[in-house]
Symmetry: C2
Subunit: 409 residues, 2 copies
């Protein structure tokens, strides 16, 4: 099969920030995104934060001509926000929802309600008979405070689950291509873990030609929708949206060009989103001999990265255990108070003791308060029990991998 023409693949990746009622100028921006995608005619479009199914439907109608295949991934209360438009026929899809994704009571952050996931699409170029390409669109838990990042253990569990998911689902694929908002800086432990454990390459680092925001940043102060205060420590901006790829079997992938938008959509005065779009042109070529599955890199530093990530997950596990204990204790105290009140009420009703020492109203208020605390604390206890289980499970898996890495010759 040598001499088969190179496949030139143009990819568009964007976190659309299309939250109904909350995102500024949403409808105008979604129309703009649709118009641009129709004009530019990419091969593959990976979008995140398309929270409204109506926005997806409108995009689908508009893009039916140039991207005949598409898929929207549903999950969580609000949705996963993930969708894929493709020039290639989509063979099948799979959604993997991370086992941890923040806390339901952190309403102001809202990640828990989104059901953050990774959406996988298997696609094949018409006329080719090889194994499919695997395309992934995804988003990880947001980082709200870099100095005291309470969500780091959850994000690391997500990065780990994502890496495991990629390893297990891509074994027979020719090419794996991932686009998404990873909510991590390039040097963060989660990125190093994901790349080290899967062998994915960073299109920005590999690109022969780059054009766009300095250092490939995708959250930049020049964008009128970004929160400037968040970017104060990073005057150039930060890079948290990525296109990553790897060839698995007998293919090679090269990144010819990488572009980002620069605070505005091309030719108009508003940006597509509060994130910059990332656009890559990849060259995919078949080699003579299958190279065999290369699932992880042979990077000797991988064990160090897994150790570092495991320490963070361990710290999260200890914190989760403390919260499980506190909420459990609170539930027990509330239950004791309720039982005490019930006993007092029974004694009064039976006319055995002295008259009830509290006025009825206070007595009832206290009982309701105790009941409310009992219900809430029990719910929290259950939630943190699940959190402990998942953090513990991830820590175990990482330990197993570390042992295997150390045993490797």
């Amino acid at each position: 099969m040598e001499g088969e023409p190179t496949l030139r693949l143009r990819i568009f990746n964007l976190n659309c920030w299309a939250i109904r009622y909350l995102s500024k100028r949403r409808q105008q921006r979604v129309r703009l995104i649709g118009d641009t995608l129709r004009q530019e005619g990419f091969d593959l479009v990976l979008l995140q934060e398309v929270w409204s199914e109506q926005d997806y439907s409108e995009l689908k109608v508009k893009l039916a001509g140039c991207y005949p295949f598409s898929h929207y991934f549903r999950s969580g209360v609000i949705g996963s926000g993930l969708c894929v438009f493709s020039r290639f026929p989509i063979l099948d899809t799979l959604l993997y929802q991370y086992s941890l994704n923040g806390y339901p009571y952190m309403l102001q952050h809202g990640d828990w309600f989104c059901g953050k996931s990774v959406g996988l699409v298997g696609a094949r170029e018409q006329g080719r008979s090889q194994s499919p390409f695997v395309f992934l669109s995804l988003q990880l838990h947001a980082e709200y405070c870099r100095d005291k990042d309470a969500y780091l253990p959850h994000r690391l569990v997500q990065a780990w689950e994502l890496a495991q998911f990629i390893r297990h689902t891509s074994k027979a694929a020719d090419v794996v291509l991932l686009g998404g908002d990873l909510n991590m800086h390039p040097e963060d432990v989660g990125i190093r873990l994901l790349r080290g454990w899967t062998g994915l390459q960073d299109a920005f680092a590999e690109a022969m030609h780059f054009e766009g925001c300095k250092n490939g940043c995708t959250l930049v102060p020049d964008n009128c929708f970004t929160d400037k205060s968040e970017l104060l420590p990073f005057p150039l901006g930060i890079r948290i949206d990525y296109i990553l790829y790897k060839a698995i079997s007998s293919f090679t992938v090269k990144c010819e060009e990488l572009k980002t938008t620069t605070g505005q959509a091309p030719g108009v005065d508003i940006p597509f989103s509060d994130h910059e779009a990332v656009m890559a042109t990849l060259h995919i070529q078949r080699q003579g001999q299958p190279a065999g599955a290369t699932l992880g890199t042979a990077d000797p530093a991988l064990a160090d990265v897994v150790t570092e990530a495991r320490a963070e997950v361990g710290a999260g596990l200890r914190a989760a255990r403390r919260q499980r204990y506190s909420s459990g204790r609170m539930a027990v105290l509330a239950l004791l108070l309720l039982l005490l009140q019930a006993a007092a009420a029974l004694v009064t009703l039976a006319g055995l003791g002295v008259e009830q020492p509290f006025p009825k109203l206070s007595f009832c208020l206290l009982a309701f308060l105790a009941l409310g605390v009992l219900v809430l604390a029990t719910g929290l206890h259950l939630f943190h029990t699940m959190e402990v289980k998942m953090l513990h499970g991830t820590e175990d898996q990482m330990w197993m991998v570390l042992r295997a890495l150390q045993e490797r010759p």
Copy 2:
């Protein structure tokens, strides 16, 4: 590689019914299971409902000699209950938690709290350099009432997600082997869907020699722990525990023998569990040429099965939408009542109106009741919104598969 010796694989599968404080004679039975496994020396042991990590740890210590590799899958509040003991080195593991698994408020059924999942273990026979074997241990949502099975849509979503998971994770495996309590009779639509969409073969149907309960039943009236009233319509018992398998690449698998226990563990007077154990002896042999991935069967009836399953999921979707609407309406009514009370209280406090028409106690009780209803109904509304999303997503995926099946020449 022709002429490579046949691998004879002996597998033990059991739903252990080891629920702390609830299951009868649990510790004695777990000891018995451990002793039997140690004596018999299987190659692979797939267990379900080992809810207590302590039971797993004890089994691990006892079995370390003959099954040096093992894994326990953590998830949910109580755990997944799944564990694997293996003579082969375990390369890696992956846990997939089904997106739907009953209702948290159905406390008497408790499935929601278990975090029911499928646990995958990649293992390789030492000295062989091929792709790994994929072993899966799993359990689906229980069936509590066959005539009015409210959980059927959830179980079908689980069967579908399981099938998709197997298709995506087993593409490069030599052999896939699944053992578990599927909670479905052999002719049920969920089993037909799983087998049709993955091409898995039923060890009971394929076995050259069978020994055990009639029809391979695994819940039988002869077992002293089974609920006899549940088995009244099925005097011989029912078959809900399975060993399924398939060869993916250049291998063939044949089932030489299948056995079940018959209401008692061999040589003693109590059973291992309320389920019967299923034991299979498989012959795995390498063929000359890789046969290529055969992921689904070419069964022309598959489209009918997917249509049937999709209709059931659609019925579940309509029910979930009704429940989402009811709980949403209840939340709105409770909110209105609270607002009304707040207005009345404000008017009274400001001394603008007449005196408060209710005694304080009733007023407070009503407010607390409204608040409680508001919180509960909102929680239910969120839960059913997620349920609707997942049922809708599954319906969509099934439709996509149906379209692809119909387009196939």
